[in-house]
Amino acid sequence: MDSHAINDLKKLLGADAVLHRPEELLLYEYDGSVEVARPNCVVFPRNTKDVVGVVQIANRYQIPIIGRGAGTGLSGGALARQGGILVVFSRMNRILEIDVENQRAVVQPGVVNSDLSVAVAHTGLHFAPDPSSQKASTIGGNVSENSGGPHTLAYGVTTNHVHSLEAVLPTGELVRLGSPALDSPGYDLLGLFVGSEGTLALITEITVKLTRLPETVKTLLAIFDTVDDATETVVDITARGITPAACEMLDGWTIRAVEAYVHAGFPVDCAAVLLLEVDGVREAAEQNAEDVADVCRLHHAREVRVARDARERDLLWKGRKNAFGAVGRLSPTYYVQDGVIPRTKLPQTLRRINEIGDKYGFEIGNIFHAGDGNLHPIILFDAREEKQFQRAVATADEIIGFCVEMGGSITGEHGVGMEKDRLMPLLFTEDDMNLMRRVRDAYNPTGLLNPGKIFPNTKGCGEIHVRPLPVAGVSRA
């Protein structure tokens, strides 16, 4: 990278806000995915003006720019695929305003997801999107990826909780999209920009919706001796019109990995558990908990436990949310997939995943958002062996292909990024993708912002899709 550009960045931000020596950049060549790409420099803006300045420098020297929060993403969204300036928002981490009465908060993009909920907890409110990475991932990252999480089953994903954005376009224009008051006249630009995976703008401020914490929460653990019984239970709960706040499934393999690490109290001899949560006013939550338990028993649940207090509830969730960390102890590397299927297809899809694993000789763990059909099969492999790595990718591709065959999607919450760009044609025609590319080009005309993401490279230059990692990835779903 041009040393003049580095000097300009240092002049703008101060020397302590610019990293460019190779050893400093090492940390930033990863995110939570299995991808690797090293930026030419990393900058830490402190405010919107800094971000505009960085964008102007990038334009002056024609260098790519890529936004990044905590780097917990699972699709390579925050990696500098073609090098360039990585704009890390960790110093823009202030909660600017909390409006309890109107249930809104204004935050900088670097605010950590769970920090916002902690900050407003005393008011009885919280920020509902709860990706498992929430203790590390930033709201800016959540907005860029339109993150989900266990409780999005009932509460909706990130896009349902954003009122307004301030953002810097790759041209350097500062824009404000949406508004704290609802139904902004004109096209829903806010809806377009949320979830655009950092390809349309760098987000500098976010107005989010705060949701009231429920009066009553009932957390249930249903234990099953067969995977089929567990998946049939999910299908039946949905069909009966019960919408739990969360409906998570862990298979036996994952449970054993989790128990060895977290000691959440999951029975290690079962085939699957469902972690179910219902909430609302006391009268409704109690009834729903009974109804859900009845459906579990109808499908031969060996046991249905109800968490007696907050401590028991937290422990169960700790098991779920730390599952990927637990898996990381078992294998040098793992690959988490993010396919979505119609919920009625859960039983056959899990059986098929098992068969695909056998075919390629991998053990595949399953821990996922069963309630909305969002699968996270985990393929354990050793990335130091190139062949094993390629086989893992082939396994994942076959699973995703099956999800699409079932009428599903290639990603439910992790994003396309640089991981799944080549799979986009499974869902979209050339016409579909061309229109999306042109929308991108309308706001990102020089392509300097986050290049090489979402859309497959039309030139087919034979770029290697993913490169093996030397060490265990720490991933969160």
Partner: protein, 465 residues
């Protein structure tokens, strides 16, 4: 018929068959928008036919307005040019419905009430309780961006729309999203089509998430002496753990509005008279659940109403509930039918500013002796209807002045307002799309991508897009 329009209709007839093209001026009057009538209407039955029509229109520089049940064509500015009405009512199939997955895919021309009947067989529904419910199509509902009382609990279409197929102004069929309930693959282009009045594309197919039908429901209704007290009740409920299905505040004038003939056709069962009293503000909130939950809501709401100074309170169920809900849903058509020059402002503010925004608006109309009535949703969306007794130039000036001041007072509160409904002849004087917007340049960029030649509804949308 001119030679040019004869050529147009014959080419359209080649695409869809002569029986699906209308050129008779009497029949075409039904497709008029403001002062403009198209030279033909065409009713395709497939996306392939729409592609042909759009390609032809583009080549011939014809302006297309996509129509459904034609209940909301009055929204927006008059079209700059209007040659062909693209009537979507024959594209009305249910493409797929998976009750077990709670997902649905439909063609744009399907009437909303028909769809509701299909879903009801499986005890499911779409939370689109929108005006003109018994006539409107799903495509028209989405393209016009109208809302309904259920948004209190369910949000708006953007919250449960899963994907869409559409035809762009370049005659390309494209799609976005998918048919599963959780999906982040590609850009959410479909959200852009909501409320865009068809200026970005012709919506051909829409995928939705459906919802389990609510168990028993009831409505709580209470009257208050002042708007502040009624709004106070709204605030009290929103601070509680209750999660009501609907929540609205009505102004005193609603009593006479809801006793009109149009209102009676929509809702034959009347609501207790002592509740919709002429001089009081009304708070209403629907709630649902099992018998224990219903009892809890009723007890809590009554207690809150008392604390907030309610004069009267009642709980509606059965036919009364159905009537009250229908009236809430159909507030706009009822208001439109009750004056020769109904002008409805859609005002959006933060929920806590409802009373302030309403007081400011009320001052503007009362000082000009203009009759008015209003419905404010608990989420901060206010429909403020000015109901002049006649449509003279003098009255117009009064309405223009009042609306301008309401737009400014709303902007001063940090909100925004538009005038979706008003007499056609007033549209060039009233600020139909509200005050100029800073993000307009970003909207133009999109229009250029989707419809570079401007053949879709030219001039009707924000900023004359």
């Amino acid at each position: 018929m001119s030679t040019a329009s004869a050529t147009v209709s014959s080419r359209l007839a080649d695409i869809v068959g002569p029986s699906n093209v209308v050129t008779d001026p009497t029949q075409l009057a039904a497709f008029a928008i403001d002062d403009k009538t198209p030279s033909a209407s065409v009713s395709p039955q497939s996306t392939a036919e729409i592609l042909e029509i759009v390609k032809f229109a583009r080549k011939e520089k014809l302006a297309i307005v996509t129509t459904g049940a034609r209940t909301k064509l009055g929204i927006g500015l008059p079209p700059r040019q209007y040659d062909v009405a693209l009537d979507m009512t024959r594209l009305n199939r249910l493409v797929s419905y998976d009750p077990g997955d709670l997902t649905l895919s439909v063609e744009a021309g399907i009437p909303l009430h028909k769809l509701a009947a299909i879903l009801a067989e499986h005890h499911q529904f779409l939370p689109l309780a929108v005006p003109y419910f018994d006539r409107t199509t799903i495509g028209g509902t989405i393209a016009s961006g109208v809302d309904g009382p259920l948004r209190q609990l369910y949000g708006t279409a953007r919250d449960y729309l899963l994907g869409m197929e559409f035809v762009t102004g370049e005659g390309v069929c494209a799609k976005s999203g998918g048919r599963v309930v959780k999906n982040v693959t590609g850009y959410d282009i479909h959200k852009l089509m909501i409320g865009a009045l068809g200026t970005l594309g012709v919506i051909t197919r829409i995928n939705f998430k459906t919802f389990p039908m609510l168990s028993s429901s009831r409505a709580f209704i209470a009257s208050f002496q002042t708007v502040e007290r009624a709004a106070g009740m709204r605030n009290r409920v929103s601070q509680s753990h209750l999660a009501p299905v609907t929540m609205e505040i009505f102004s005193p004038g609603v009593a006479s509005l809801f006793s009109s003939e149009t209102a009676f056709r929509i809702a034959p069962t009347s609501i207790p008279e002592n509740i919709f009293s002429g001089s009081r503000w009304i708070f209403t909130s629907g709630f649902a659940g099992n018998p224990n939950a219903l009892a809890r809501y009723e007890t809590d709401l009554r207690k809150m109403a008392e604390e907030c100074g309610a004069v009267d309170a009642a709980v509606l169920e059965g036919p009364q509930l159905t009537s009250a809900f229908a009236l809430k849903r159909e507030f706009i058509p009822v208001a439109l039918s009750s004056s020769p020059a109904t002008t409805i402002l859609k005002v959006s503010v933060l929920p806590r500013q409802i009373a302030e925004a309403l007081s400011a608006a009320t001052r503007e109309v009362e000082s000009r002796h203009l009759p008015w009535v209003t419905m404010a949703r608990g989420v901060g969306i206010i429909y403020f209807a000015i109901l002049p007794t006649e449509s003279s130039e003098g009255t117009k000036q009064q309405v223009v002045q009042a609306s301008e001041n309401i737009l400014s007072s709303c902007a001063a509160l940090g909100g925004h307002a538009t005038i979706p409904w008003c007499p056609a002849a007033w549209k060039n004087t009233l600020k139909v799309w509200g005050l100029p917007r800073a993000d307009f340049a970003q909207m133009l960029k999109l229009k250029k991508v989707f419809d570079p030649d401007g053949i879709f509804s030219p001039g009707r949308f924000v900023g004359g897009i």
